[in-house]
């Protein structure tokens, strides 16, 4: 048997995806969990990760069973029923999402029946099995999305709206910058003439928007792998096609290509897409032109060699931008989210496609091994795009650090995002401010 121990954790567990429910406006999860589960996931994924804030339905506010010995020994059905009923009485939500934890899943509570009683009464409640031992919050996210579709959105046989797209992209909260990123993705897709179900975050219309999922012309999976199983599920359920774009676009080169690809797939007016791209590039390149003065002649030096330690999707997006638009040199690439085995070859291909001379992506979850990999890298990175966990090794090898991934405990993030046109400019600001700040 091989050790699978993990220190310096870089994801939550399946129940941590209760924050995907929190990310849908007007939705409140109900934690069918022990007393500490919701607090742990919140403190890690939401608070000490960019201090994002849980807003309406999360944090310490969501209902939680707080299982005791009684629920372990005698089962928790009774208590869950009571808590759901109390939640309907005390809290206002368009939808409650019951997420089960280890205790409920091991003991074998019949959550389906309990939730079914409320559904039969027409109460807006769904459930997903998200026991922590079943996988991480990426897996939990897909389970919750499917649960809402199956149990709340329901069947649909009406007409399809070809100009409407459902977007499945970054994992809310896990990705520290998801709020800004999703807003930008929505903005640029609207720019080429689509209407967008962004589904999570401030740009989402909440549960009402989710109810229009089956009407959309197609699903866009904008991630190295997350969301593919949701799109497959929607294809089976509604006969809805999907487009998989594994590279999240950062910067004008990738974003322009992305928009043209989507426009072609969705058969939107190509002229409109080109006009939008032109307009965006005009602004973008004026900023880049001005930045180029710093980039060309800041004679105290700016770093070139970089290491990236992040979820595969963000690692690819950043590596791609850094390598192909900024001309930086990736020397170490580590993907940390434990992507399912069947997607790993695809992810390797995604990185190989960035440039022939970048290193092969490594899949590592344990913080000790990651640190060793960085420390012993034959080509030493001058800047690390990583997490709070990399601060120590960055100091040790005198590299700069830009926290782009969970946990980013030294970042306060509101609307800042790093994708698309506007995000790329923010990322440039962040990279080089970090570099200069670390100097004398």
């Amino acid at each position: 048997m091989k050790s699978e121990s993990i220190c310096r954790v870089r994801y939550g567990c399946a129940v941590g995806a209760m924050h995907s429910a929190v990310a849908i406006p007007g939705t409140i999860p109900i934690a069918d969990c022990g007393p500490g589960c919701a607090d742990k996931q919140y403190a890690g994924l939401v608070f000490y990760n960019g201090f994002q804030g849980s807003g309406y339905g999360g944090g310490a506010s969501l209902p939680s069973v707080n299982s005791t010995e009684k629920e372990v020994v005698f089962g928790g059905n009774e208590r869950l029923r009571e808590l759901i009923q109390a939640s309907l009485k005390v809290m206002k939500a368009d939808l409650f999402v019951v997420t089960t934890g280890c205790i409920s899943d091991i003991v074998g509570d019949d959550v389906e029946s309990v939730v079914g009683e409320f559904q039969a009464r027409g109460a807006p409640v769904v459930y997903a099995e998200t026991g922590g031992f079943k996988g991480n919050n990426f897996i939990g996210h897909e389970a919750i999305a499917k649960a809402i579709v199956d149990q709340h959105v329901g069947d649909y046989a009406g007409p399809r709206d070809e100009g409407l797209v459902n977007v499945w992209t970054e994992l809310p909260y896990q990705n520290t910058f998801w709020r800004g990123d999703l807003q930008e993705i929505k903005r640029i897709l609207e720019g080429i003439g689509l209407r967008v179900n962004i589904l999570f975050g401030h740009g989402s219309g909440g549960v009402e928007e989710w109810k229009t999922i089956p009407r959309a012309g197609f699903n866009l999976v904008l991630h190295s792998w997350l969301g593919l199983s949701i799109a497959e599920h929607l294809r089976e359920k509604y006969g809805q096609p999907y487009l998989h774009v594994p590279m999240i676009p950062i910067g004008s080169i990738e974003t322009g290509g992305f928009l043209r690809k989507v426009a072609a797939y969705a058969k939107t007016d190509p002229e409109r897409a080109e006009a939008f791209i032109r307009e965006e590039e005009r602004d973008y390149y004026r900023y880049l032109e001005e930045f180029s003065e710093f980039y060309a002649e800041y004679f105290f030096g700016v770093p070139s060699k970089l290491a990236v330690v992040s979820d595969s999707a963000y690692a690819a997006a950043i590596t791609n931008f850094a390598s192909n638009q900024l001309g930086l040199i990736p020397v170490k690439i580590i993907a940390t989210e434990d992507p399912p085995e069947e997607h790993r070859e695809g992810i390797r291909g995604l990185f190989r496609g960035i440039s022939p001379d970048i290193p092969e992506v490594q899949f590592i979850e344990d913080g000790f091994v990651i640190e060793e990999e960085i420390r012993n890298s034959p080509r030493r990175p001058a800047i690390i795009f990583g997490t709070t966990w990399e601060r120590d090794v960055a100091k040790e090898i005198r590299a700069g650090i830009v926290e782009v991934s969970f946990p980013a405990s030294y970042e306060v993030v509101l609307s800042r995002g790093y994708v698309g046109y506007r995000g790329a400019l923010s990322l440039i600001e962040k990279i080089f401010t970090a570099t200069i700040s670390a100097s004398a």
């Binding site: 699978e4 121990s5 310096r8 954790v9 500490g36 607090d39 310490a60 808590l83 939500a93 405990s409």
Partner: protein
């Protein structure tokens, strides 16, 4: 007074040992009376059983395992293993920040926290996780060569019944270091402070030197968390040195606790088990006195510490000097603060201390939320009855709510009192206050309000925080609340506990 039994592999939970409750509401004097601590109504050193008022609606609490992370996980030169599915490790993130900031504030080298998860998955739930535990112990030994390894359990391993004690014993022998099992399944106790007790039990049983060859007559164990170094400068006036435990201590500093002349704690909630264990098993006296909050409490606390360590004269000189120094400053602060109303929402004994400080500053405290209530502490000594000390010396608190960090109840308390500010320590409640237009002073540095400088520090912090009312008031005009109109119109935060049938009414 209950015997702390170090033959057992784990501490008894708070509710079994002390009769702890997490839901109640009434007046502070009533709770003090019912607890019967000072009055010894229910036998020597035993509190009286209290009736808990738990309702059907509950919001997330915090578990014992988290407190093990923030105690055993914060010991330098040691490693904590979480024998658990990966989700329990999400809190590594918060305790890492706490650890890093604590190291910085104490002048130690800043580094990441050392906690490893055995990362249990579905098949381990079926076949058991002990092999993964063995491999993880070998990993951390290989990677860090720690001076001690703690192994905390989880809800999952508690239910599947992994025999962690045996594996810990096996590796204690193999590695020649203490491998300390800590039983901290979240579901086993309704209050997280049981996790303090479990960590301290493991330290008492496996790490503290059994037969110290010497006594350090000038060494005082100070049980605290990661607060700034306030005790050392204070105790220096009594020619005493400080041994801060448990957070940020080295394994050797934990081991030498049995050599100390006395033990004190910044808060009885945290320190009750360890202080008593050190006294019962190692003859280190605990300072049986009020906590060092406010001028009165600090005086009494110092005098008792001086008596135990035979430094009465030094103490009296110090007390006189400090009164002269702090008096005028306090007077100035009182002028600016009197007439304000504050509301406290923190852990139990800590809240008792903070209310005393606020009242010394002339601030009204009509309501308070504590996250639990221990009817008695482990010593059973009435001089440590912090609630009675508050009520007897500073008067009653008319609206005293025991509520395990429940924002829905806090909403009602905030509406009832509409305070000028709140004091908090744990996460979870201040966000709600902000949305209602009320600023919060978070006491991340738990030592801020301690000793003679405490009231001054706290008073100045409050003056700063009051300004943030501008931010909160503006915000409050632009937020939607997540509670139903029915709930928001309640005036009794405990109404659902008293009448649970309400949830079924339309």
């Amino acid at each position: 007074m209950a015997r702390i039994n170090l033959d057992n592999s784990a501490a008894e939970s708070r509710e079994q040992r002390l009769g702890t409750i997490v839901y109640w509401d009434g007046t502070a004097s009533e709770l003090s009376e019912l607890s019967g601590y000072s009055k010894k109504r229910c036998g020597d050193g035993r509190g009286c059983p209290l009736k808990e008022r738990k309702g059907p609606f509950t919001q997330p609490s915090v578990c014992s395992e988290q407190m093990v992370e923030c105690q055993a996980g914060n010991v330098r030169e040691a490693v904590l293993i979480q024998h658990a599915p990966i989700g329990c490790s999400a809190s590594q993130i918060i305790y890492n920040m706490i650890f890093r900031i604590g190291l910085e504030s104490r002048g130690h080298k800043v580094e990441n926290i050392k906690i490893a998860s055995t990362n249990l998955t579905e098949s381990d739930m079926v076949f058991g996780g002990l092999e993964k535990l063995r491999l993880t112990i070998e990993d951390v030994w290989e990677h860090y060569r720690p001076k001690a390894i703690f192994v905390g359990t989880s809800c999952a391993t508690g239910i599947i019944g992994d025999d962690v004690d045996s594996v810990a014993e096996e590796y204690s022998g193999k590695l020649g270091i203490p491998v300390v099992p800590l039983s901290c399944e979240g579901f086993r106790s309704k209050h997280w402070s049981t996790g303090f007790d479990q960590s301290q039990h493991g330290i008492l049983k496996h790490i503290v030197k059994k037969n110290p060859e010497k006594r350090q007559e000038d060494l005082v164990n100070v049980i605290n968390l990661w607060g700034s170094d306030v005790f050392a400068p204070m105790l220096k006036n009594l020619n005493l040195r400080v041994n801060y435990v448990v957070d940020m201590a080295t394994v050797d500093e934990l081991a030498q606790m049995s050599e100390a002349a006395a033990t004190v704690a910044f808060c009885n909630t945290l320190g009750t088990y360890l202080s008593e264990g050190l006294e019962q098993h190692f003859g280190v006296p605990q300072v049986r006195a009020p906590q060092p909050y406010g001028i009165r409490g600090t005086d009494e606390w110092l005098r008792e510490l001086a008596r135990v360590t035979h430094r009465e004269e030094l103490a009296e000189e110090f007390i006189a000097r400090e009164h002269a120094r702090i008096g005028p400053e306090l007077e100035r602060l009182r002028e600016r603060l009197s007439g304000l109303q504050g509301l406290i929402a923190t852990g139990s004994a800590y809240a008792h201390g903070l209310i005393e400080v606020l009242r010394e500053l002339g601030i009204a405290v009509n309501g308070s939320i504590v996250f639990h209530h221990d009817p008695v502490y482990d010593s059973g000594d009435p001089r440590q009855d912090t609630l009675a000390h508050l009520v007897d010396n500073y008067g009653d608190v008319g609206d005293f709510v025991v509520s395990i960090r429940q924002p829905f109840q806090f909403l009602i308390s905030l509406q009832n009192h509409n305070p000028d500010f709140i004091l908090i320590r744990h996460n979870g409640l201040a966000p709600l206050a902000s949305r209602l237009g009320i600023p919060a002073a978070p006491l991340g540095d738990e030592h801020l309000a301690i000793g003679y400088d405490g009231p001054v520090n706290l008073g100045n912090l409050i003056l700063e925080i009051l300004e943030r009312g501008k931010f909160c008031k503006d915000l409050s005009r632009h937020v939607t609340h997540q509670y139903t109109d029915w709930w928001a119109s309640q005036t009794d935060p405990g109404v659902l506990a008293k009448n649970p049938g309400l949830i079924w009414e339309d």
